[in-house]
């Protein structure tokens, strides 16, 4: 286990709210001082636009921004020309789908394969693409123990499959998916494999080479980075032929009155002034997480999750809706308390300074598959301890006594 008392000192929020049991990192995580300082430095010491000015401040800002790209590349075992900064997962997912639509030879009747556990940000752009181009969208279902049904995946992925888009970890179930296995199926089918890593990144070491994916995206704010910054990774060969779908300044080679030629580098996907401070803050967050060690964080979250699972299993009236094996769970425990709506559970928790999420978690098709309308979700990260879980348990008991 990590020493959470020490770790909490790195996060100013716990100085402002010492009693806070923050169990909503799957929604957005907290920010370490290191990241805040890095962004502050940009704004106070060298703020300027990048890739434009010939003066010193602009050169410093450009260097820092490009260093952030290199940090991200190392973090993912990628190369810096494979890293595109975006505003987050949602933009990455949308612009990637538009770009693929312009780049791939898609024909009516071609297929997209995704899963029933996707976040709306990954799912809806695929739905829209399917409806624009007459493609068939298929969903890999769940097994009884809320794992992906890989046997069904094998049946669903065919030679007609052009795109496979799958989350690395479910934001509701915590389930960590076997991307390598899907990557093999993608290769056999000749399909492009997209991975939504929003819930997994910063929780475990990730190597895009090992995963064998073509594209991968995530948001910075779920991994101790600031809001408004994210990354789209694209394998070099794929990115080279990918057409841009957002247009504006900084992404062009030449523009005349009616046409434009686009940059040959990743700049092609970074139209307009980017979130410079955000990229710098995200790189600082990675530096912070790397100092603690991604494997250490993974093991710590696993221990807290294991404790939470065992505690919640022992409470009568609590039903779990998440991966029951902590080794296959990215630190998310979703549940229902019998006879009490998740909104009421969350409200009673909040009175005990326990922050959780309640609702459909932007995964309505999954809610339908589970046969529920809403769930309470507790999610764990490096600053959470078993004491936080104890507060959660107390909250459940309090809710049960109020509603008894």
């Amino acid at each position: 286990m990590l020493d959470t008392a020490t770790i909490k000192k790195d996060f100013p929020i716990f100085e402002s709210s010492p009693a806070l049991a923050y169990l909503d990192s799957a929604s957005t995580s907290q920010t370490p001082l290191l990241g805040l300082t890095a962004m502050d430095e940009y704004y106070t010491k060298y703020r300027a636009n990048i890739h434009r000015g010939v003066y010193e401040l602009s050169e410093i800002a450009t260097d820092k921004y490009e260093q952030a790209r290199e940090t991200l590349a190392r973090f993912l075992s990628a190369e810096s020309e494979e890293i595109v900064f975006t505003s987050g997962s949602t933009l990455a997912s949308n612009m990637l789908v538009y770009s693929l639509e312009k780049t791939l030879p898609l024909e009516k009747g071609d297929e997209i394969v995704t899963t029933i556990m996707e976040h709306h940000s990954n799912l809806i752009p695929l739905q829209e693409l399917a409806s624009r181009r007459g493609l068939t969208l298929k969903h890999i279902p769940l097994t009884e123990d809320v794992d992906l049904d890989y046997e069904k995946a094998r049946e669903l992925i065919t030679s007609k499959t052009k795109i496979i888009s799958v989350t690395l970890a479910s934001n509701v179930l915590g389930t960590i998916n076997d991307i390598k296995r899907l990557s093999e199926l993608a290769k056999e089918a000749g399909a492009i494999l997209i991975v939504d890593a929003a819930q997994a990144v910063g929780h475990m070491p990730i190597s895009v080479r090992e995963l064998g994916c073509d594209f991968l995206f995530f948001s910075g704010h779920k991994m101790c980075g600031p809001t408004g910054i994210g990354v789209l990774y694209g394998k070099k060969e794929r990115l080279a032929s990918l057409k841009p779908s957002l247009f504006g300044g900084s992404m062009v080679e030449r523009v005349d009155t009616h046409t434009a030629e686009f940059a040959s580098t990743v700049a092609r996907f970074e139209a307009g002034t980017q979130n410079i401070a955000g990229a710098i803050g995200l790189a600082a967050a990675i530096e912070y997480l790397s100092r603690i060690g991604l494997s250490n964080i993974e093991h710590h979250v696993r221990d807290v999750t294991e404790y939470a699972l065992s505690q919640l299993r022992s409470i009568k009236g609590v039903t779990l809706y998440c991966a029951g094996d902590p080794r296959k769970n990215a630190g998310i425990v979703s549940f229902l308390v019998e006879g009490i709506h998740p909104h009421d559970v969350a409200e009673i928790f909040s009175r005990g300074q326990v922050a959780v999420r309640s609702g459909h978690h932007c995964a309505q098709p999954l809610m339908g598959a589970l046969g529920v309308t809403a769930l309470v979700r507790a999610s764990f990260y490096l600053y959470n301890s078993k004491e936080d879980v104890d507060k959660l348990v107390l909250g459940i008991k309090k809710a049960q006594s109020i509603f008894a």
């Binding site: 009490i340 709506h341 998740p342 909104h343 009421d344 409200e347 009673i348 009175r351 309640s358 609702g359 459909h360 309505q364 809610m367 309308t373 809403a374 309090k398 109020i402 509603f403």
Partner: protein, 124 residues
């Protein structure tokens, strides 16, 4: 604080809601949904010959606040004319609930009210 939000009155309405059910013969059937939490409720109203609410019912799922508010609303609108229904405001709902409603729970408190309000607009 718990006593304030989940006082007995609210819990009683939640556990034994008034007007829970469906009307087969209705003049108004309006669905209300809370996009953030998935709460889903349908309100039914039947007017009598004097255009006053003769019968009202709701069905659906929701949290204690939304169900209690719907239950209280069904009690209060009986005998009212459509014009009188149009005069009901969110403030009336908060007064009926009699508890402080935080910004995060406004949509819960007003779920049934919004269905009522939408249905009256379509009538006009």
């Amino acid at each position: 604080m718990d006593e304030e939000l989940y006082k007995q009155n609210i819990l009683d309405h939640y556990k034994h809601p008034h007007g829970k059910g469906v009307l087969v013969d209705f003049d108004i059937k309006e669905r209300g949904r809370n996009a953030s939490c998935g709460d889903d409720l349908t309100l039914y109203i039947k007017f009598d010959q004097e255009h006053k609410v003769r019968d009202v019912a709701f069905e659906g799922e929701g949290c204690a606040i939304s169900i209690a508010a719907a239950s209280m609303l069904t009690e209060t609108i009986k005998g009212k004319t459509a014009k009188e229904l149009a005069l009901i405001s969110p403030g009336d709902i908060y007064n009926m609930l009699g508890i402080p409603i935080s910004p995060g729970r406004v949509n819960c408190a007003l779920l049934a009210y919004k269905a009522l309000n939408d249905s009256i607009k379509t009538m006009e």
